[in-house]
Symmetry: C2
Subunit: 119 residues, 2 copies
């Protein structure tokens, strides 16, 4: 990484909700930001845990047995293999960390599947 990343500035480069952008890497992990609004899709990642840190707004990570509600400054790691479905009522800004090549929709085929795009 040559330059620091100002997350608020990077969010201005993002388009629609659920279209993530890669802002850097730590070894073979990608650092991704994403705007969340509305409901995503139920999915799981069989090979990796899934890191969520809320920077602005409120994110609800629906699990099959409960909801985890994250406000700004709160993080949660969905364990590998656990089904989850994020949603947000207001536009919410999230930092995601997961291995390169991890598909955003996990095991689920969906129009919300996004390519890995660096911003």
């Amino acid at each position: 990484m040559e330059e620091k990343v100002n997350l608020a500035e990077k969010f201005e480069l993002l388009g629609e909700p659920y279209s993530p952008g890669i802002v850097g890497y730590v070894n073979d992990y990608k650092l991704q930001i994403v705007k969340v609004k509305g409901e995503f899709v139920w999915h799981r990642h069989d090979d990796t845990d899934d890191f969520f840190l809320v920077l602005k707004g409120r994110l609800t990570i629906q699990l099959r047995d409960r909801d985890v509600v994250l406000d700004a400054g709160e993080l949660f790691v969905v364990p590998k293999g656990v089904e989850h479905c994020p949603r947000a009522d207001e536009e919410t800004h999230v930092l995601l960390i997961e291995p390169r090549g991890t598909r955003n929709t996990g095991d689920t085929e969906s129009p919300l599947m996004a390519a890995e795009v660096e911003i």
Copy 2:
């Protein structure tokens, strides 16, 4: 991870600057928080990149050829093998992500070397 992590609450559990606490894991990576005040020690990690996200305050990551100054909401990844020395004039709160077993002082022997402590 059973419960979400509220980072501000976790910082209240930390002691002195440069005594990090582990708040969770993503696969074999540790999620650590640390208070920074004053100067750390020059070191490098030959086997891993080093992730810094500032949550409060201002962190200066001194590199041998320049300084990277991070305010809240800014992140930087020090590439593996690159010497660096963090410092902060005011108490600064930082989220660190690196593989489990990564020593905080890298290749440098120092009294600031810290054990891996979960909080």
